[in-house]
């Protein structure tokens, strides 16, 4: 070690020993290894004693740095010899670190000496402290991983022999006892198995180690066996832990099999139970378990059903002792989870019955989950697995024929072959039909009991107890209820309507009890019994709610019982309690069932609507109403008038927070009415909302005209200290939310069902005609439309700069965009475009652009005369320039007035359609002017990525849906927006960058056979092609994040496909420049890239070329990281 010591003399580090306390200051000085040994001990002592986190962090860094130094090899034995246990531990850790990191610095002639050194230290600390012994074994295992087999052959038995030879020998005044030796050997054997499974070892080395381990495992198993036979409890526990680590490592079943009997015996001993249970859990979860199912199951069942285990189970439940229960329950549950098929096939066996009883006991473990116990949820997965296994049970035909001597006589040979194949393919064989029926019958009893057990576990505590729980506990308890709900769904698959019957009967009994308790008063605070009864009822209702997912909508025996006066009619309607909340949720969850049983709708609504007025219940009632109205809208149409009357009565009392949901619900029912019939209910629904909206608008106008300036304050500091909307703006926002809810409710669920292009136009024209007819009749329909328009336009005028409000307006505008239906409330598309243009010009919020994108995708096709073919003529002129720009170098591009050009070729386009075409072009022009005005520099683009993103999303929509409009805007504007897109390739912000790339991909993919269009596209490419290529190559070369290279690839591939010659020239021009696109790309790689991408048309090869070049430019070529995605 002297070599390493001498090297340490020049060691410099950032520390100082000052005034008796070792302060880690930023002073630099040179110390020797001797100094570092003493200072290290001081730092370790102070590190463990200090409460100062900053000091601890600095000390830790110092110690870690120390371990990197060569002289740390000497530091380790020095520290291990010290008096402080912390220093000893750090010494052992230093050995481990040095062996792992600096193995190659050990001179070859010192390698074997090092092993002896480590073993000596293990001997010295074999009696403890345990954490130092463990650390030393970790160091020895780090040594073994590197030294075996070259420097340490037959390491398992050699280590044991070495240890054995030192038993009772005195080393430095310490003598190792036989038991200490056993513990140390077991420790090493445990750790080596864990480390071999974990350590990153190169494949060749791993193979060598595996070979050594395979040779050594019989020895280890025999050692474990010896300890299990004759050791004391401590050694046995350690032996079991060691055994478990080898099972985990994956040694073969035949190696462990001889010891299984001893491990079973260990289960029946209090002191070794936990360790043995862990071993069995590991064995059962191993992949080999399935092959040895019978051995494991038949071995374990007698243990599970032994007097000892039953007594243990009973004791743990009676004493509510979670410590005893957890290991036992974990063991039984792991068994159940892994062998549910085996259990299902032997369902009637007495020992299985005992096992199921025990599981049932754990499922209903006393106390509230999370607060009192965490045992009961361990069993839930088993009940699910068991149900699956039970449902897969099939009678074995051969068993039937064998027992009955009948059954297959009528079958021909082929049928018998098929039957025997099915039979042999079945997981569980050997059951005759009778046994199967008996099992099914028994399983019903089990699951009926389970339902009752789980229902009880669902019960909430009383309000007072609940309030005393912490938030985490409450959340865990609620999560557990959800888990139980899922388990009940599995129970339904076993019990079917029996579970409904059971729960309904229970609820009837509980209602009787509630009735009795109510006699003592309905105040829950003073009537504990009533509260308890309501809690019980709640749990039953929760179970029924959970089952709504699986109860068939056509179920007509049990659920009608529930929704009759036997149960539903008796549910509490006066007291505000959880039972009512759950009952409301239950009603909502059965909306699909009500659709098939509309006769129960009215009582359900009579239960729900009054609850809207009760603050505690209102959210549940609103949700239930929403589900029912949405699902059963057709059934409720006839009751719309009554509905509106009820709404008018409760409207004032409804909390604004849920009024939107109620408005939505009613609007869904109105949606099913014919338009002329819908106007009256709509006025009833929105009258108050329009009135309040107009009041807000008037107040705002007055405020603005009173000299506050246009950008009048819309936000203020709230009571919580956060910025929020001032009251008038908040009130306006609220009214807009109600209008939005109404518009959403009026959307037909069939909106998506538009099919062919012809149909789309027909449907739209029919809608326009319908609108015209309705509005022509005048009256209240016009008033309704006008009111809506006034509110929308009014808000845009007086709140143009308030994002929250404008976002809501945009949502309303987007909701109105529909071509297949008409509502008097919806505004026609020219009005919508006007609103968007005005709003965006006043303040460039991205939501306006999103609304514009939707307008283009929804209306352009229908309003401008359909497809491009119908506008420009179906007989396209074969293009003379189809070979690319190169074959037609001089293009006369007429972009002065594309609309007139389109007119020449239009087939029967109406003046209105041509006018609409111009409207769309105007929209694009307006959006482009306003966006580019606000984006003068790259900094502007980086500061407003949301606007950039939305702008390119609109452009993509124009290129895809409205190319004529796209090329109708002035040429300088088109050039500007394309240059803007190319500039966008330099953005680092993903949101904006991705939208830019998607637009360019959309643009490059344009492919028109119409000369007018082609001329315009090619003309544009002539002007911007070189710059676009420059942007793409810069992106590939590293200016764009690597995760975006696929998008660049998607842009480059079609570009080269369409403009091959031009692209070659552009690339050659650009790539000849030194350092372009990256200083890491040399001439050869550029040449290879050009050749690669120009010569292949295989998308995969093209992608590979781009990927390789990109990696080269990013200095990632040849690295694994370069291929990480």
């Amino acid at each position: 070690m002297s070599t390493w010591t001498s090297r340490a003399n020049q060691y410099s580090q950032l520390s100082a020993l000052a005034l008796g306390r070792f302060s880690l200051l930023t002073l630099t000085f040179t110390i020797t290894s001797t100094t570092s040994n003493s200072s290290c001990s001081i730092v370790i002592r102070q590190f463990y004693a200090s409460q100062d986190a900053a000091y601890q962090k600095t000390a830790q860094e110092y110690l870690h740095n120390l371990q990197k130094e060569p002289f740390a090899w000497d530091l380790a034995p020095h520290l291990l010899s010290s008096q402080s246990e912390n220093s000893k531990f750090f010494g052992a850790h230093t050995y481990q670190v040095k062996l792992t990191r600096d193995w190659k610095t050990i001179p070859e002639d010192r390698i074997e000496w090092m092993r002896g050194e480590l073993i000596s230290w293990i001997v010295r600390y074999s009696s403890g402290p345990a954490f130092i012994r463990t650390k030393l074994c970790l160091a020895l295992s780090a040594y073994a991983v590197r030294a075996v087999p070259q420097y340490w052959t037959d390491f398992v038995s050699s280590f044991y022999q070495e240890m054995l030879s030192r038993v009772n020998q005195n080393v430095d005044g310490v003598s190792m006892s036989q038991q200490a030796m056993e513990l140390a050997v077991l420790e090493f054997f445990t750790i080596i198995a864990e480390e071999l499974g974990r350590a990153e070892i190169e494949p060749m080395k791993r193979a060598q180690l595996s070979n050594e381990v395979t040779n050594g495992t019989p020895f280890i198993m025999s050692f474990v066996r010896e300890i299990l036979l004759g050791g004391n409890a401590t050694s046995k526990t350690k032996a079991l832990v060691c055994f478990k680590s080898w099972v985990q490592y994956g040694i073969t079943f035949d190696v462990i099999q001889p010891i299984l009997g001893l491990v079973l015996n260990s289960l029946l001993d209090d002191e070794t139970f936990d360790a043995a249970a862990d071993v069995w859990s590991e064995i059962m979860s191993s992949t080999a378990a399935a092959k040895h199912q019978d051995t494991i199951c038949e071995g374990l069942m007698p243990c599970f059903t032994s007097e000892w285990a039953r007594a243990k189970h009973l004791e743990s439940i009676q004493a509510e002792n979670e410590d005893i229960s957890k290991s036992l329950c974990q063991l039984l549950s792991t068994f159940g989870d892994n062998f549910s098929d085996w259990i299902a096939a032997r369902f009637l066996r007495p020992d299985i019955v005992v096992y199921l009883e025990m599981m049932m006991g754990f499922a209903g473990f006393p106390g509230y989950y999370a607060e009192d116990e965490t045992i009961s949820d361990l069993t839930l997965n088993f009940w699910y697995m068991l149900q699956e296994s039970l449902s897969e049970l099939q009678a074995d035909v051969s068993a039937d024929s064998h027992t009955q001597g009948m059954g297959q006589e009528g079958l021909d040979e082929d049928q018998q072959v098929i039957l025997s194949t099915i039979s042999s393919a079945s997981n569980i064989t050997g059951l005759d039909t009778q046994s199967l029926q008996a099992i099914k019958k028994a399983s019903v009893h089990v699951y009926i009991r389970l339902t009752d057990v789980l229902r009880k576990k669902l019960e909430y505590p009383t309000h007072k107890v609940w309030m005393s729980w912490t938030r985490d506990i409450r959340q865990e308890f609620s999560g557990h209820r959800q888990e139980i709900a899922d388990t009940l769904i599995n129970s339904y698959h076993v019990l079917h309507d029996q579970i409904l019957s059971q729960l309904i009967d229970t609820s009837i009994m509980q209602l009787d009890e509630i009735q009795k308790s109510t006699l003592s008063g309905a105040d829950l605070a003073e009537n504990l019994q009533l509260e308890i009864e309501l809690v019980r009822l709640e749990s039953t209702l929760y179970c029924l709610k959970a089952l709504s997912e699986v109860v068939p909508h056509t179920e007509s025996i049990q659920m009608p019982r529930f929704f009759s006066d036997q149960v539903f009619g008796r549910l509490p309607t006066v007291i505000s309690c959880r039972a009512r909340e759950t009952a409301l949720s239950l009603v909502g969850s059965y909306a699909d069932w009500f659709k098939v049983h509309p006769q129960f709708l009215l009582p359900a609504l009579n239960f729900v609507i009054p609850a809207l007025e009760v603050p505690q219940l209102a959210p549940y009632a609103a949700k239930a109403l929403k589900n029912i109205c949405d699902t059963c809208r057709e059934s409720l149409v006839e009751a719309i008038d009554a509905f509106m009357t009820v709404f008018a009565n409760v409207e004032k009392a409804i909390d604004p927070a849920i009024k939107g949901s109620v408005v939505f619900s009613i609007a869904t029912v109105i949606q099913t009415l014919p338009v002329e019939r819908s106007i009256g209910p709509l006025v009833g629904l929105l009258g108050d909302i329009f009135t309040r909206s107009n009041e807000c608008l008037e107040a705002r106008k007055q405020r603005l005209s009173s000299g506050h300036g246009e950008i009048s304050v819309t936000q203020h500091q709230g009571s919580s200290g956060e910025t929020e909307l001032e009251p008038l703006s908040a009130m306006m926002l609220q009214q807009l939310e109600f209008l939005l809810s109404c518009c959403r409710g009026l959307q037909s669920p069939l909106e998506e069902d538009i099919r062919t292009t012809d149909e789309r136009i027909q449907v739209y024209q029919r809608t326009v005609e319908e609108r015209a007819a309705i509005l022509a009749s005048g009256g209240i329909a016009i008033e309704l439309a006008r009111s809506m328009e006034q509110v929308i336009q009014g808000v845009v005028m007086v709140w143009p700069h308030e994002l929250e409000i404008i976002e809501r307006v945009c949502q309303i505008v987007k909701t109105m965009m529909t071509v297949s239906q008409f509502s008097a409330l919806y505004l026609p598309f020219p009005t919508l475009i006007r609103v968007v243009e005005t709003g965006f010009q006043r303040h460039a919020f991205p939501c306006w652009l999103d609304a514009a994108a939707k307008i283009v995708s929804v209306y352009y096709f229908e309003t401008t005369g359909g497809s491009l073919a119908s506008k420009l003529g179906t007989s396209s002129v074969p293009s003379s320039t189809s070979g690319g720009l190169g074959s037609s170098p001089v293009l006369v591009v007429d972009v002065d007035n594309l609309a007139s050009s389109a007119t020449r070729h239009a087939r029967g386009r109406t003046p209105a359609e041509l006018e609409n075409e111009a409207v769309f072009a105007h929209l694009l022009s307006t959006l482009t002017t306003r966006t580019l005005d606000g984006m003068q520099t790259m900094t502007d683009m980086e500061e407003h990525p949301d606007v950039v993103h939305s702008y390119f999303a609109v452009l993509s929509q124009f290129v895809r849906h409205a190319p004529l409009a796209f090329y109708s805007i002035p040429q300088e504007q088109t050039d500007s927006l394309m240059n803007f897109a190319i500039a966008g390739l330099a953005l680092q912000e993903r949101l904006a960058l991705k939208a830019t790339l998607l637009f360019l991909i959309e643009f490059v993919h344009q492919n028109y056979d119409y000369p007018e269009m082609k001329q315009r596209v090619d003309g544009l490419m002539t002007r911007i092609g070189l710059q676009m290529m420059r942007g793409i190559l810069l992106g590939v070369g590293g200016h764009v994040p690597r995760s975006m290279v696929p998008q660049l690839n998607d842009c480059l591939y079609p570009l080269i496909g369409k403009y091959t010659q031009e692209c070659r020239a552009w690339m050659q021009t650009l790539l000849v420049e030194p350092g372009f696109p990256s200083k890491h790309a040399d001439h050869a790689s550029k040449e290879k890239f050009i050749k690669g991408v120009m010569q292949t048309r295989s998308p995969k090869r093209f992608k590979d070329e781009v990927h390789q070049f990109s990696n080269k430019c990013r200095q990632l070529d040849g690295s694994v990281f370069g291929s990480a995605i």
Partner: protein
């Protein structure tokens, strides 16, 4: 040799990490080998984060199962018109593909 699934690398957080590591490599702060180690750690940590009981969120969904397949312990389910129900919210989609892999014990080969 990574013992963990690499499919989370293509998630938003994975791509962001790779882009950040790229930047560090290009600026000379780290080398690709270290970046690879960080990525391997990411594979492990994200598997542990999702695999352990730290994720308590629940979601139920209903959908029409268009088709499903299994290959090398990887199950693929193609669902149409699914409705995902969260605790307080629900989300619908036209189509969803679920790729399910065996949840390995961290470190298991």
């Amino acid at each position: 040799m990574s013992q963990y699934y690499e499919h989370y690398r293509k998630s938003s957080i994975g791509l962001a990490l790779i882009d950040s590591l790229d930047e560090l490599i290009q600026s000379g702060h780290i080398n690709p080998q270290l970046a690879m180690r960080v990525l391997a750690q990411f594979d492990m940590s994200i598997a542990e984060a999702f695999g352990s009981s730290r994720v308590r969120n629940r979601v139920n969904f209903k959908a029409h199962l268009d088709n499903y397949r299994s290959l090398d312990d990887v199950w693929t389910f193609v669902l149409s018109n699914p409705t995902f129900r969260f605790e307080h919210d629900s989300v619908t989609a036209e189509k969803v593909k679920i790729v399910a892999c065996k949840a390995r014990v961290p470190g298991e080969t």
